[in-house]
Every structure is written in C-alpha cells, then in structure tokens.
C-alpha cells in the first residue's frame, strides 16, 4: 500500500503505476456532473485544485451541531465526466481523480500530459469511505448544485483505492474491456 499525502507532487504521482494500491490522506474535494458542466460553461473554480484531488462523489451528509457529518460517501460513475475531464485536468492542475469505472482515452492522454492518475474507489462501499472522512472542512456551491452535487471539502485519512489509470498510458480498464470483448466474440461465434 502506497501512502499519498496532500499536496500531491508531480514526481510522486508520476511514479505510480496502474494496479498500485494507495491510501490517501489530506484534503480532497468532491465534484460531479453539475460541477463539471459548470466548469465547462466557463464557471470559476470555487477551490484550488492545484496538486489536489477531485473525488467523483455525491455524499449523504447531515447537519451536525452547526457543522456537517458524512453518512455515506462512495464514488459515482466517472464515465459521465469524460467530455469535461481532459480540460479540467489541463486547467486545474489536479493530480488525483478518484471515482469508479474509469475514464476514456482522452482523459488518459491528459493524465499522461499533465501528470495525474485515476484512483478507483470501491463503488457502493459508502459506509467505509465515509469512515475515512475525518472532517468536513467546508462546502462550495451548495445552494447552486444541491447537497448531492456540491463541492465538499473533505479531510480524509487512509482513504483506500487502486490506481487504475496512470500517467504513462496504463489503464486496467482498457485491458479488461479488450479481453472481455474478445471473449464475447468467441462465446457467441
């Protein structure tokens, strides 16, 4: 297990390879469908993503003594953000994109160019992910995007995942997809 601590420097990120198990500690920000569309439409980034992490996640959050408490916070499907992610990576300086299901070739290329990796969290494992969020430091765009789509500022400790796309063009997903398509053709032949 490789420990990653915020801020995530380019050298460390470039040393990661698809298949590496990682444990993330420090600040991460959530952002999903509405966030990406807002950014693509020219919206200003509400937080600084440089050397940071973007988590594709729409959590269950309850208000707790004037603050917020995370109840469930697993990843959402990343593929919907494919049209927006290369540009986001280029402009934001983000180093980690966390989600599930993986992303497309254009995103993989942006990761290669700018030094970023994709970390697969276990989809649906929301109680476990929530337990890794030690503190909700704040929230942006809550009134604009709603609670499930807002940009939440999480301080996490030991948030686990697998590097599924690296900054050298390696992707576990494309290997599996190619293999399964080949196998499918054999079965139905």
């Amino acid at each position: 297990m490789i420990e990653l601590k915020y801020p995530f420097d380019e050298k460390t990120i470039r040393s990661l390879r698809a298949g590496d198990a990682v444990s993330i500690t420090g600040r991460i920000y959530t952002g999903r469908d509405k966030f990406h569309k807002y950014f693509a439409d020219g919206g200003e980034l509400p937080v600084d993503f440089r050397d940071g992490a973007l988590y594709h996640c729409g959590p269950v959050i309850v208000e707790d003594n004037g603050g917020y408490k995370v109840v469930a916070a697993g990843p959402t499907t990343s593929v919907r953000e494919n049209p927006y992610e290369p540009d986001f990576i280029a402009k934001s300086g983000v180093r980690l994109v966390i989600g599930k299901g993986g992303m497309d070739e254009a995103t993989l290329e942006a990761m290669r160019k700018y030094g970023c990796v994709y970390v697969q969290a276990v989809g649906g494992a929301a109680a476990l992910s929530a337990a890794a969020v030690k503190n909700v430091a704040g929230v942006s765009m809550l009134s604009e995007f709603g609670a499930a789509e807002a940009v939440w500022h999480f301080d996490v400790s030991g948030f686990c995942g697998v590097v599924a796309m690296d900054s050298h063009g390696g992707s576990l997903f494309s290997d599996v997809a190619k293999l399964s398509e080949k196998r499918f053709s054999e079965i139905v032949a």
Partner: protein, 278 residues
C-alpha cells in the same frame, strides 16, 4: 408502530442491510477469486462495508437510488402513497436517504425526496399484506438496456439464442460501470414499458432460485456461467465474478415486436419485504 414509522424503518433497513442471499453470494465469490487479486480485494472491501453499514444503520451506498414500493392490494387503504411519502421525508431528514430527487425541468432538488412520481408506488395483486421496497442506484440503472430483435449488429434473431446474445452484450457494455458484480433481471417480450417493469421485478427473486420454465431456467444457468467467463470482474478490474445472478421472465408480445430488456442491478441489491398485520 404506526404505518409511517414502519415504512421509515423499512427504508432504513433496506438501505443499510444487504439481504442474506446477496451477502452469501459475495462471500462465495471471494473463495472463487485468487487470494491476492484485485477482485478479491474489492469483494472483501464490499463485505467489510456491508458489515459496517449494518452495524451503524447507515446507507451501504450513498446513492440511495430510486425507491420503488410494491404494496399488496390488501393494504391499498392502509399503506397509502401519502403515508409512504411521509415515511420517505422522515427517512431523508434522518440521513437514511440522500437528497436524491431532482426536478428534470428546473434542475431543483426536492429535498424531502417527495414529488409527483417519487417515490414509485405499485399496488400489486396477490401481494397480500406485504410491502416490498427496492432501492436501485443510478449507476446501475444507467447500464440497463433494451434490445429490439432481430438485431443485425449482434446477429441476434427472435429466439432464445438471440436473447442470450443480448444478455451477454449487455454485460460486456456494462463492464464495471454499474458496480459489478451485478445481478441481471431480464424480460423477453412485452412492450417497451412492461419490458422494463418486468425485468426490474425479476430483481426481487432470490439469488438461489430458478425460473419455473425449464427453458428459461437453462438459459439463466448457461448465460450466467458465460457472463462470468468474460473476465470483467468486480468493479471491472478483472476476475471471475462479473454477475451474482441472472433472472429471466417472459411476457407476451405483439407479432411486430420482440424486445429483450435487461435491468442491470449493482451488487448493492437492496430489497426487503415486511408484512403489515391487520
């Protein structure tokens, strides 16, 4: 306990506690995978999460999904849509459900998860005094699909061999996106609307059962094995466990149509039935 409280507690239980048959099936899957594989790691993480969610009574997945209630006809006057909505609002306030209901035109959130058409409530014949809740997340719903046979791209004709191709194609297209290992509910025939309704209804069947129709039962078994030989694996990271179950039903069709509808459900197959006494 009054009806509203009972339904609210059904929501919490459904959201936080994976059914026994599904959990057993995931445990069996761990034994099939190589001990050091990412497939085994993912499945063990899932099981750990299942345990934690049950213990804390919190959602096992943050996408608490579309809530579909199947209410026995005998309860039509007792378990009304108004009471179900009250229970949903209460469960949302308690953090057992995410604020998960969006107006499709304005984009605004219905913060209590109640709107015209949400939650979904079906009154079913022969349902007795039971209330069944199915919670299905959007990631898996996005992977559901409907085929119209013949399909020249798949070389699939209007027979069970064609149906099998549709099923396997749906699994390949879903990869890990719908949170594999998944469960498929399939409907052969019907119109487009009943196709999806029936396919989704198949997800309520126990993972261990087989279709009463011998031909469909054989297809369930065969296509399940074939799907698991595709190598997609848990979360699409490779492995021997791509599906936990495959359930097929058939509905009559008109001569012009032959639909095959595949409802993809993630491993977090949240379904639960309670009985409400007279």
């Amino acid at each position: 306990m009054d009806v509203v409280a009972r339904i609210a507690s059904l929501i919490r239980e459904t959201s936080s506690s994976l059914p026994d048959d599904v959990e057993r099936s995931i445990k069996a899957a761990v034994r099939r995978e190589d001990a050091v594989s990412s497939a085994a790691v993912v499945l063990k993480t899932i099981l750990e999460n299942v345990k934690l969610a049950r213990k804390s009574g919190t959602p096992l997945c943050q996408d608490t999904g579309t809530l579909t209630f199947f209410v026995g006809d005998a309860l039509r006057r007792k378990v009304t849509p108004q009471k179900i909505k009250k229970a949903v609002a209460l469960a949302t306030e308690k953090g057992w459900l995410r604020k998960n209901t969006i107006d499709s035109v304005s984009g605004a959130s219905y913060d209590d998860n109640c709107a015209d058409g949400a939650p979904v409530v079906h009154y079913v014949e022969h349902g007795g005094r039971t209330v069944t809740l199915l919670m299905k997340g959007g990631g898996s719903e996005n992977m559901s699909r409907q085929y119209s046979l013949p399909d020249s791209g798949l070389d699939a004709g209007r027979d069970l061999a064609g149906v099998r191709k549709c099923i396997l194609d749906a699994v390949v297209k879903a990869q890990g996106y719908g949170c594999a290992p998944g469960v498929l509910g399939v409907c052969i025939g019907g119109d487009r609307a009943t196709g999806y309704e029936t396919a989704k209804g198949q997800l309520l069947r126990s993972l261990g059962d087989g279709s009463p129709d011998p031909k469909l039962r054989a297809l369930e078994k065969k296509a399940l094995e074939e799907a698991n030989s595709l190598g997609i694996g848990p979360m699409g990271l490779g492995g021997r466990t791509t599906l936990l179950g495959l359930k097929i039903a058939a509905r009559p069709r008109v001569p012009a149509s032959f639909f095959v509808t595949v409802a993809y459900m993630c491993w977090a197959l949240r379904r639960r039935t309670i009985e409400i006494p007279a």
